[in-house]
Symmetry: C2
Subunit: 248 residues, 2 copies
């Protein structure tokens, strides 16, 4: 028998409890103040690739939606990241963070030095949204269910432990505290409404697992490349390079 | 001025000299006998995902080729992996290796337990061949230029160091010693012939770099998950599980 919406929601939330990337050791290292400045920079460089790809992913989604109401509901996600007349947007806020940790922001914006494994994982997400059913695409976005908690912990941990952290450099995360719940309330209601068979519920749950894997693989890539024993793959950013003038 | 074919070939070969995955520490660990049985198994499980995807990649390539002669020249790659009436094919040979290292071959064939990072990297290659120019697709295949050396070293290293290694279990690699040079002679000539501007040479070289990243990321994923300090991501194969009856 197909699970009730409430039971299916519990199943989705359990995926986050089991394997959202707040369980990854790099998350703890970062938030506890255990990262060196270069490890924080590696995270900022690589995570930028994800930030910059999110509105591409959302445009790919909208390009497949025939219902104007759904496209209209989705559009604010692109605005949140790319910006509007009144809002610089998440991508620019992320580059503010890049500045604050001492990186050359043009270098970060160029996406050079991003680890190949980061690109493979993030690109897999964009393609997933382009190729799979709309239900799976929306379900994959539901990692936002678990994001406010991680953003709140991130703000607190970064503020407590790193000199670069202040209202300006962390504005990306503060904005996500209000943007993510708005997006996910819509996405969750849509998924619960549309996953009305066992098969669709299984597909939606698998999509959410896929997305947690995308996030986990990004932290794995940074951890393997930049945390002892560090093993930077060919093409990856070299610590100490591409810093703002005067930073060392 | 556009490089001569000979100079351009030298540029391509230098990419292999710089960053083919025979430089990766897992390669050395494996061939020197330093891998535990479970580390060898993790490699067999994950590398199977690559093997199984190669004919899909080649079919994606052929689906975009309008010249029957080029399709005909390419077709043997699919036969080499999927098999013919007279040839079991590379995928079956790889499953023979899975047997030999003590794994349940149905489990390996199911692709369960493959690391997400492996899937992201390999899928990126299939998509690359589907989306990029034919020149870039052929150029990406030129890692085969560097493969016979690694296969020969692999056969020698595995035979010297592991009880499971014999003619049957290593037949995949022996066959590649003759198949790869045939494929790559064609591919290299095609690329040298078609990369007749600076822009095309740069694109072909970038495609080969991309492909070395795909291979490197696969070994990075295995190394991070299964070599000390091992950190198996959610969904990854757990050592000691899915073995053939009687194996421990």
């Amino acid at each position: 028998m197909t699970a009730t919406p409430a039971d299916f929601e519990a199943r989705l939330r359990q995926i986050g409890a089991d394997q959202y990337h707040d369980k990854h050791p790099f998350h703890h290292l970062l938030h506890s103040g255990g990262c060196t400045p270069d490890q924080v920079r590696a995270w900022v460089i690589n995570r930028f690739y994800y930030q910059a790809s999110i509105p591409v992913k959302d445009a790919a989604f909208m390009s497949r939606v025939e219902d104007p109401a759904l496209r209209r509901a989705w559009r604010s996600r692109i605005e949140d990241h790319d910006g509007t007349a009144d809002n610089e947007g998440g991508i620019m806020r992320w580059l503010r963070l890049a500045d604050a940790v001492g990186l050359d922001r043009d270098y970060v914006a160029s996406k050079e030095g991003v680890l190949p494994a980061t690109k493979f994982a993030v690109d897999a997400y964009v393609r997933f949204v382009r190729d799979k059913t709309l239900l799976e695409a929306v379900a994959a976005s539901l990692t936002e269910l678990f994001a406010p908690k991680i953003h709140a912990a991130r703000i607190e941990g970064l503020l407590a432990n790193y000199a670069f952290a202040d209202d300006s450099s962390l504005s990306y995360f503060r904005n996500r505290l209000t943007e993510a719940p708005k997006d996910v309330a819509f996405g969750l209601a849509w998924v619960l409404d549309h996953a009305d068979t066992d098969e669709k519920q299984d597909a939606a749950a698998a999509a959410l697992v896929f997305k947690t894997n995308v996030l986990w693989a990004q932290l794995d890539a940074i951890h393997a490349a930049y945390v002892t024993p560090a093993r930077i793959p060919p093409g990856g950013w070299q610590p100490g390079t591409h810093l703002r003038p005067g930073v060392k």
